[in-house]
Symmetry: D2
Subunit: 338 residues, 4 copies
């Protein structure tokens, strides 16, 4: 922590900061500038320095925290990529596996049909929600437990691994047995109880970025999971809330590489939720591939106009097919070293 | 829903919209403008019109949803204010009761001392967290169940009703018995499982606005609760996330009156979390009183510099005392009718 | 500037930073932490340290700028309030003068009628635009030069001082002679040419905060003016752009006191533009008074439903009258010291 | 415009809306829904319907504007792409010409060296600022008029066309003679005086999107130019302001295709300003290419660490060379039709 003292701070005020820092067992360090003094407060152990200890003391102009609060997810702790495995598919090994499927599973027939479409087009993991976090209680809430058999059937018939979302601990307890990976949605990114539960699981977790989460908050959410013992975490960017009106959210592609510098965990992109409108999904998916994420997640529906949830952003089968070809080629091209 | 057709839309394209609308049992209504046609799609029953049915059809320029999706929370359904009672305190009856206390309960002594301070200053409800949603797993997570006795003791000794936060269903099940009202925090505003649980409770719920929630989303979250049978809901504005760097969040005071026009539920303001810095809490609290909310929630600590959580934004006892006097007077003044 | 080195930074990398800093005539200062090194880079003179000199060098984890770049507007340079005088009215002397009038001057009769209304209600300065920054070229652009006589007439007949907006240097040259103060609008906050021109004027300047300006950027815009010799600057908060849909902008009341801590210049609030809707203007104006700004600016129209510009946010005369009484009383109440 | 009446609106209130609409010579149209009435207000001519005429009338629940206010820039008016020519380079003809150069021209040698580097790598237009909009008056403000000869020299020696920025009308008057295209920066996007001046020019204009401009506002800014007679306008996305801290701005790639659907004008992308950090520029530039914009604008410097302005975001020559190859290939790939 860096405490910048006011120009007019007195010696006594500076001395007071030093005393308090030493009382708390921190290590203060005075830096005398041309016309003001700053005090670096270092810690002697792993605890974060408590801002409240200094805030409001006389003579202080500004307090700047300098320590990052995430630890186990940090690339400082572990410099090589963590490889996360969902079924047989690896994330984090310089490839871009594609997870695809409908927003919600509506029926066995719909799910199977879509699973076969996306598999044929090159997707390696199937996604589909049974428990749906919908803004309105009057919207379709998903098939719930009744859909579990469909998941099993899809895996059996197509060989695709299955990702589905848990909205709470109870969902998690049920799905853990059936799914190959469990997604925690954007609205639950700071549902700390759910994160702790995920941390005790052996199943890989896909952690979506909250709609207004900073990179720091997102990584801290992952820290909650890894801290309980589960390091099989995939981070998924899905757009942030901005003032913009022409798209549902604004896809933040700059976060992908910055996150990968900060953490050893894989980072994937879901352009479907960011766009909210089919026409925007395709260019955003190609743009995503160009930043070389560790994977993509795309919504596809066999009959988007009949979808019970988020049909407006689901691709038609043919669109997905073309997209897959291009996305894969762009990913390779962007990664060439000469 | 209003569908605006392109200038160049053909008669056949317009006809196609009409056919689909009728198939879905909606009521289409053509409006011929100077140079383009719009089609109002009305519903015959209470279902929301499914956007996906029309999105992407040829000839459409824009689709504008016009129906609000909340129902039971709407002032259209119930025109008079809903009065929510926590203990003996009424919210929604043209008064501004104040809820105050520390961010987290740290010990019996700390909690009791603060409870007596805030009571003396005029607060009528005590707040204090046992289960704390902290960004970092390494921060103080609250006393948990061990603090339940403290809550009981405070109520017994001071007569103040108690508000505390539930982070998940498990917390809720425990706290329901001990607390007079249960708070659902900003990060859980769209934790739909928790909302449904709250809807089945007989205890009043304080529902904080999510950091990036629109008014519509906030009311829909309340709809989840009321829809399950519990209409004892207090909405609490606590600041939204913006690009601003000088305060933690930006308090959105314009939402108070707009929300009260839309819903019959009481709306209160928490300026402490919006500010994040003690110096800003006092002016923002007075500003809040001036928009005549149905209550205030303020963080107070007996020793803010020693607080284990959010000390930086907690008021000193004396500050709170002065604030209370002024806030009450401003509230009255703002409400005078001549 | 504080350079935080990576945990794995080598001695050579650290040495390299030191060498470059010394070459550039800065003063580097090493701080050895528990597991990483930070380097404070201080300057020996008044120049800002050039970030580009260090960015991208090996071994650096993060660079944190710590010097504020504004100087002459800073309260560090001048600790007492600057009093800005428009006509005989003082801003910055612990009072809250009110500037009121229509968005645009439409005719002599309209302007005079409104001027008399607002004067009678207690406003001390008249506002009204001749050159209007409208989003659309097809909207009413103001009377332009043809309205100058109206301004003179209003001042003569009512004794009110006149504030009007300059959109460019040409406008400024014309208005400087006729107006008592010149406003630079939110959209022009970083029109540096206009700021420089304002800096050479003897007339007081009202500098509105840009819709997405940080406090730092706003103060730097004022620095452009003061740097050219004009210290008669009033800062005006008018709402920021956020994701919110229920109001045009979000009024950022926390900025008022924070700005006043940073600068010696007066800070006023315009709640009309923030709200964009009449119903929200009144509560926001009262809330503004509660944070004790150095003034208010309010839009009033004799016939809001006929206004050629921003009628939706203009108050009716009676509303303004009531508002004035309450706002003044709230301002006094909020400022009481016991 | 669509006026939605409250459920409880009386017949008289509805009738009142109709009367006012007819008085104003609009065409009202009643739509009776299941439980409420809406009134579509259509105009008989080209004027925009004045919101103020209806706002605040009794019985109204909500007013929804439905007409877009831009006209001449709209693809409804002109369905084929407008081709904008800078020198011999065409924008808008399904190609992606690249504009490159330093943020600011610092010296003849620097500028020429960079111009040759970018030309060799495949850029077809040189960019470089003489008049620089800097947040601080103490930062390098550009060479101003003294740099004009350098522009001429670069064109003569390299054959590249020249783009440079005008910050005000005076700059514009000077630069119009020397530059092949004139840029209007993000901070000036709503400097309506400058836009009108640009509209009278014969030179092509590059109009950057304001940091917090909606698509609608951006197109309206272009409308100001085209409305005065100049249709040679290139729109340039350069990132929007969000709550995000890891990058300077958030590049909004979804706007590219949406803008191209709305307008016939070409749309290009500047990833350098969005990123603000060199490491992010390369992936964002490739992502930009994948959405198939009508061009790219990239900052390149021969010695980024010595740059007087925005060195942190300028690419090294070698980085630019690699980028060019990949970006061109990705652009082609993304555009393949099978």
């Amino acid at each position: 922590m860096l405490i910048i003292m006011k120009k007019i701070a007195t010696k006594k005020q500076i001395q007071n900061i030093i005393i308090i820092a030493e009382e708390k067992n921190y290590k203060p360090h005075i830096i005398s500038g041309k016309d003001k003094v700053s005090i670096a407060i270092l810690n002697n152990n792993n605890e974060i320095i408590n801002l409240s200890n200094f805030l409001g003391l006389d003579g202080i102009e500004e307090i700047i925290p300098i320590t990052k609060s995430y630890k186990l997810v940090s690339r400082e702790i572990k410099q090589d990529n963590t490889i996360v495995k969902i079924g047989n598919v690896c994330f984090g090994d310089n490839s871009m596996p594609v997870i695809a499927g409908p927003c919600a599973i509506e029926s066995k027939q719909q799910a199977l049909e879509i699973a076969e479409i996306v598999k044929k087009a090159g997707a390696v993991i199937f996604r589909g929600g049974l428990f749906k976090p919908r803004s309105s209680p009057y919207s379709f809430q998903g098939l719930g437990k009744n859909g579990l058999k469909i998941l099993i059937k899809i895996r059996k018939e197509t060989g695709l691994a299955i990702v589905t979302e848990a909205m709470d601990i109870e969902n998690f307890n049920i799905l853990e047995e059936y799914a190959d990976a469990i997604q925690i949605g954007a609205r639950n990114m700071q549902n700390f109880s759910l994160l702790k539960r995920a941390g005790k699981s052996l199943k890989p977790i896909i952690l979506k970025r909250g709609m207004c989460a900073t990179l720091q908050e997102w990584l801290m959410a992952a820290e909650y999971i890894i801290n309980k013992g589960n390091n099989q975490i995939i981070l998924c960017e899905r757009g942030i809330r901005t003032f913009v009106k022409h798209s549902r959210n604004t896809l933040d592609l700059s976060v992908v590489n910055t996150a990968k510098q900060e953490t050893h965990l894989p980072v994937i992109v879901d352009p479907s939720h960011a766009a909210g409108i089919r026409d925007q999904v395709i260019p955003l998916a190609l743009a995503s591939a160009a930043v070389r994420p560790d994977g993509l997640m795309i919504e596809v529906h066999n009959k988007p106009n009949e979808a019970l949830s988020d049909g407006a952003q689901s691709l038609f089968p043919n669109q997905f097919k073309t997209l897959m070809k291009k996305a894969k080629a762009i990913y390779s091209l962007a990664g060439k070293t000469n």
